[in-house]
Assembly symmetry: D2
Homo-oligomer: 352 residues x 4
């Protein structure tokens, strides 16, 4: 029996305000398939927060589905996607993108982030119809290894995309964490300005389920509901998704929850740094990857839930610790306390 | 402003017991992607109710998604599906099945139900590799026009399928209504015995969302979660779906809710019959299709929400009235009262 | 051992002039993948014959491949195709079109030909994103039952398509036969004017293999070679296909060969009519479908190769007789002679 | 105007014996779609040469088509393919494999050849349904960079595949060159024994077009013609393909032609080595990749056709020289002569 779980940011249900909204509106008769009043209200709130009154907003139950539908809607059959090798679509979606027929041109990166030069290289290598035609750049923010894009980086990506007729797509499963990182200088409005299509993640930031897919360019908006329906993403009771985003975007709850997760991760990171531990990637959001001695990891695993991410050398691994909107601060303090205790013990042991 | 809506059976949220379950379990830390304790409990309850302890049960957010994943998992690329022309997959899923690569061999029917002879004819017409190879029979119960399969009919379908190496798949979006119809002689255990794959519809019978896909044959069970993941159907918080089905299958709430919907539809049907109206298809479940004079329909539409289904002749249309677990009996009585009043008035008018 | 075969129009190899061209150019070093000089020359000849200097022409090895690539290039994933139920794509391509993800809305016809009214009905039935979106009309000329479109019919189809934003696609596997029918008033230039994409069939009119796909609208031309490559249709030695069409379109051989096939079929039809036999569809091209007594068919099958097409009543079937560019007139005369002999004999027998 | 072209091995038409066969059999009436007597005869000849009497053999017009059909027939939708990054399917088929829905797990190699250890690593990294499931190893022999697999290497690959339930598939576009390399110790019978599916390339070894796809395991043979038809690969006049392989496998012409190409490439390689030039990959077959000074390349390009393959440093590139069954030895001698002359001249120049 574990004391507490730092496996991921979707271990608990929903923020209580979102459940309350569901209960309050439960008896009302609504139109189906996303045409209900809550989806309309949520769309309005999100458009306002993005300062993008003409954006289309669609609510989808999960991130893999959002990606496969969004990407599939943008590409002709022979067009390909440029992404980092670590991208969720390249590793952890069971080939969902290829199942829609598109190749991913995966690029190895240092920190999960693509650069304009890497993109240009891929484009330049693809010269004729014997190869796929790169047409879209896929990035995640925050990335799968917890890093974030800064304002000037996103702008530079947008520019290389425009110069090469590439769409820029952003997977925002953890966009809340990215935008509220203490190191961030990017706003939701910036994202809406520079990215052709992206989604705002609800599931990993306090919702029962749901991602809000945003299409800012009017030319890309028509017929999108056909894609949703054809892939089984138009929930009969779309109101459930609408209610999540009404709750998240009323009173900026979305940002407040993400800030909470980031703050607790930063607290953990600081304590680990104080104990002399390094990180696989620079801590910036609610996912951190400290490198610990295997003996310490073995002890920790008896008390807490987390994933061992990657072997660093024969005696050390990076682990992944994730905090969320629901993480209890007392449990973070407990973990820090246990880390201090165990780090001392295992260090003592190894120097005996 | 409409007095009440009989558009469909997904106008309201969820049965209060299901919402309560979500709230009660909200703070618990659970494994993701359907590996939580609620999905396990729901699986156990459903297996028990079906008397099929070895069945695999997967929870999927909606019916179109369940169909496209389930059917796609059973077929090789050149294999086709035999269905009624009225089948949901043939009309109302935006080509989701074809988008997985498979042709539907659609057969015109009298009442939305396939017969063994129709199936045999399609099989016999497909003789070599210049044509698709029919490999699966798709039925809905209740059907899209409200009719139901009887025990002997289902058994006969299963037999013609086995003789021809065809899978039998059942879309149970409204399986609750089918099994609790006053005219039904079929049980959930019968379905589990004769059908290779089917789903038990939650969305249209009291859940916020969710369908329980059942695979009885152990040979068809391996690797099914790959299909779920690849099509974006593995919700990170699968617990939401698990909770719906725990709630529905504890104390037989699933059947109680369906019975309620059927009873109110039958009450409506009886009143309509008493007024001398006929039906497009024989009323059996919670969807009824009375044929009314256009003048009466025009008056009714000012007060109630429903769909005009099909023109029958130049002066009459069939409309669709749907009741659900949430339908209020006082509103049904009100509708009957208004029908009696308006039927008299429009009749008087037309004979002036 | 059969005396002669009327099974189809691809029983023999190629017209000798086409083989000669292959031999003459065999040693020349050419660019691959359709960039050779013969493909260029053939393109020029076809453009000239169509009076469409800006048309794109691509050479593809067979009709099913031409259809699946051409149709797939025109449609977005949720868009569907309207065709006759008898259309080759709907029956005899093993679900190739559905395998590219698209539904076919098949319409029953009298003679294999679609009418503007039928098309409008299908369009009008498809109202929202729960259904596919019809976007293309597929016709064959000559049709799969040997009938042909007249000038005013094709123009009317083009108009209904333009009014409804539908592409018009023509499968010309037997376009030669259609254009040279004694009953035809349509030219290749007419086809190029009214049809968005079509192919000119070589395989069934004297080539070893090869169909010439034509795209007249410049907006539909870009990137088409990507589709060809991705579906395996860019032959390394594209020169083989180029040589076929150089041979066919030099000195109008294409039309001469089709005329030969039509003339012999008409001769057969006239003889059958003289014997008092009727036809399943009005004879117009190189495929005819006489209705014969089963006893006569049984005798004929001992001597000649042909397909029994459809049972007409308990004592009669329609058979399909096909002539081609290679059909020997002495064998047609022989068949007529045998028909006269056998018809008398079986008639005598049945009246005994 | 170039003196001679070393661009590839498909610049000329077909070996004269193959054209003669087409002419000799041209007037015979044959069954369509690969059921003709020449396809049957070719199948027999190939089975005999492989010592695999139970193998299925299918004739397909080109390599990309053979790959997309063969691979697609073996995999379920979530299964992936392990290949070298340089594999034809990964680079030069316009995403044809992904268009059938499957991800390629590409592995960087030294010489275009996969090792058992690399395969095992990929398998071990794929642990659950959030990822694709590797199910097939794709190799080419000879590879895209001209290297070949030795007997013990192929056997080791087959073993790692069997241990991990992976299919082994071999792209034999240049199998002739691989088997007749002076360095080869592998036979066609060895390939048939260890590989689950492979094709014997005709197009690049003397045929007008055509690849012979071989399926040795009887369990993988059923229904394969459905795949062929659905992807447009069943040519109506399959006899054309049959004739190519009758010609190639009568009197071992296939091996004789490949030997000729290899011998001339070896002659070139020896001359280049004598001039002090190195190679990008060890010369083994009919494709060689000498590394030359850019100044020399610029001069050579005025006289001969070939591709510049890759920049090696700022002053050198590797070029690709390809010989074939049709390459004239006098032209190879001419090229060697010009190389000697130009190498001296550019060397003199650069040391001035």
């Amino acid at each position: 029996m574990l004391k507490y779980r730092f496996f991921n940011d979707y271990s608990e249900g929903a923020h209580p305000r979102l459940l309350a909204l569901l209960a309050q509106t439960n008896a009302e008769q609504e139109d189906g398939y996303g045409n209900d009043r809550m989806c309309q209200q949520a769309t309005g709130l999100i458009r306002q927060r993005m300062a993008a009154p003409g954006a289309a907003v669609h609510f989808i139950s999960g991130g893999t589905q959002a990606n496969l539908i969004g990407l599939g809607s943008l590409l002709r059959p022979y067009e390909s996607i440029i992404s980092a090798t670590t991208a969720h679509i390249n590793v952890h979606e069971a080939g969902a993108v290829e199942a829609t027929g598109h190749k991913i041109n995966a690029v190895a990166t240092l920190d999960g982030k693509l650069t304009p030069a890497q993109i240009q290289t891929v484009v330049d290598e693809h010269t004729d119809e014997h190869m796929v035609k790169p047409r879209l750049v896929f990035i995640s923010n925050s990335t799968e290894v917890g890093s974030i894009y800064h304002k000037n980086e996103l702008e530079a990506l947008a520019q290389v995309c425009r110069r090469n007729q590439l769409y820029l797509y952003l997977d925002g499963a953890r966009l809340g964490a990215a935008l509220t990182s203490a190191q961030a200088d990017l706003t939701l409005a910036d994202v809406a300005e520079w990215v052709d299509m992206f989604y705002i993640g609800g599931t990993k930031n306090g919702a029962l389920l749901g991602e809000a897919l945003v299409i800012t360019d009017p030319a890309l908006q028509p017929d999108f509901r056909y894609f949703l329906k054809q892939k089984g993403a138009l929930l009969a009771k779309g109101r459930v998704l609408g209610a999540q985003f009404v709750g998240l975007f009323q009173d900026d709850l979305f940002f407040e929850l993400a800030r909470h997760a980031n703050r607790l991760a930063a607290k953990l990171a600081q304590a680990l740094r104080a104990l002399g531990f390094d990180f696989l990637s620079h801590p910036a959001t609610n996912q951190i990857f400290p490198i610990l001695p295997n003996a310490l990891i073995a002890e920790l695993e008896k008390i807490y839930g987390f994933y061992v991410w990657a072997a660093v050398d024969s005696e050390h691994c990076a682990i992944r610790l994730v905090t969320s909107w629901a993480t209890r601060e007392d449990m973070v303090d407990e973990l820090i306390h246990d880390l201090q205790r165990l780090a001392g013990a295992t260090r003592a042991q190894s120097t005996e």
